[in-house]
Symmetry: C3
Subunit: 210 residues, 3 copies
Amino acid sequence: MPAKQNPLVVGLDITGTFIFAIEGALAAIQANLDLLGVLVLGFSTALGGGIIRDVLIGASPPAALRDWRYATLALTGGALTFICYRQVIAVPHLALLSLDAAGLAIFAVAGTEKSLELGISPFIATMMGTITAVGGGALRDLLLTHVPAVLRTDIYATAALFGSIILVLLRRAGLRPKPAAFFGFIACFIVRMLAIHLHWHLPSVNPVHS
Amino acid sequence: MPAKQNPLVVGLDITGTFIFAIEGALAAIQANLDLLGVLVLGFSTALGGGIIRDVLIGASPPAALRDWRYATLALTGGALTFICYRQVIAVPHLALLSLDAAGLAIFAVAGTEKSLELGISPFIATMMGTITAVGGGALRDLLLTHVPAVLRTDIYATAALFGSIILVLLRRAGLRPKPAAFFGFIACFIVRMLAIHLHWHLPSVNPVHS
Amino acid sequence: MPAKQNPLVVGLDITGTFIFAIEGALAAIQANLDLLGVLVLGFSTALGGGIIRDVLIGASPPAALRDWRYATLALTGGALTFICYRQVIAVPHLALLSLDAAGLAIFAVAGTEKSLELGISPFIATMMGTITAVGGGALRDLLLTHVPAVLRTDIYATAALFGSIILVLLRRAGLRPKPAAFFGFIACFIVRMLAIHLHWHLPSVNPVHS
């Protein structure tokens, strides 16, 4: 999530932050939280993943707290959702899911890239990319005392991990950061959209209840 | 929460830490936790906000873990609540609420001031002040798997945020740290006490359940 | 959890990481999580305590994220539990409890020792040792939205704290790191096993419900 020069990346980063803030705010309204709860959930969902990553890799203070524009963007997304709740829930579900997939992909790629730049090993960098992408949503679920949806539903974190791995492999194959990030983004986005349309999900084990 | 010279500030800081420890310990007893749970909840409620702030702004190790007197104070508050539970719950509710409001105000002001000193932008510093004030209580609620009360009830974090903003605005207007902190403290305390007496609360949106 | 030369310590450290990963994976399967959830819970249970300690004492990035072998070991434990679920749950309960006690003891001792090396005060170092030992299990419980078992059940964190205190006292008495760690390990392990066999538990207070 650090400021980038490339306008496409900036646009995607803003889109991701904004859509994640809206999702957090919607979850807060569904849980009967007040205005403050809506803003906090919007902020946490949008910026929580990047903050957790930065705390883990020792990049402090986190970028999301150093650059006031991220906080402003996340709080604006939350406030707009509060004010225009009826309009927001009228947005077609598929549009929201597609924007969410774009946010997931950009966060995964940005988180992986930032970790690599700070000298984190590629293996751990793919985890950090995935945490960047899904950490905000997991934080939102935990604040609402739900088991994080990412641990039990379909291909979501897996898509982020896949995009991160593609980025790392392409970098190892000699590709430069920008094209590697581009293909990582595309890989994550396509896997996520296919998973939604084809109802893919990961295997699970039937527990024995004693 | 760093050690201050001013005896009034030291007194308020000790009061805040101690009363928050008692509140955490009471919540643990209500949830049937054992002695260790009571001590952990007391510690987390009293010192969790400052620890979260210090981790976020990169001041590590956190002050609450560097100075053994904070831990001792918090654990003493928890242990006394465990031993004198009947006496503690006999304390008039309004007295507890007033002490809690004083703790909220001193933590908000101390957290904002410390963030400003470390070069955090004023906008983010008000958030850090609020997290210092309410983070411990939120951690206590999450450890008991409750949705943090601060996200859904009346004017609590909002009072802390208000006090932090007053401090920041007065500093920008040229006031020196001590009087700015004093007025920030008073602003938070008064808003919180008024909110209790006048039953103020933030607006919320009626969710649509589909 | 830093790499040690002593083969016994390395063996215990690997055992602890692996058994904690299995316990996390079992809890994930019982909660109907999918493969990703099983891997994440295994990872969090095995390495969460050390990561929380390193974030708190400012040793970033955490050792568990710098050395890929820890992540590999934890993920292998999770994956094997997923694949061999029936075999894992057929392991005698007492064997699992004994291995868990060994993991608890080695993590408590390693966490205390690492904190002391980084100049943390002995009092806080015993807390950091205890957090290293029980933090992963607490994180696992929180991700499944359970109140951390460590806050309410028998002598578990208390055994870790006891081992940490023994280590610190022996160091203060002039003993060298290795024998002090050895006796700390033995103290924690014995207290934990006795607590299991003799059904020891901490006192609690009967709450008044108003």
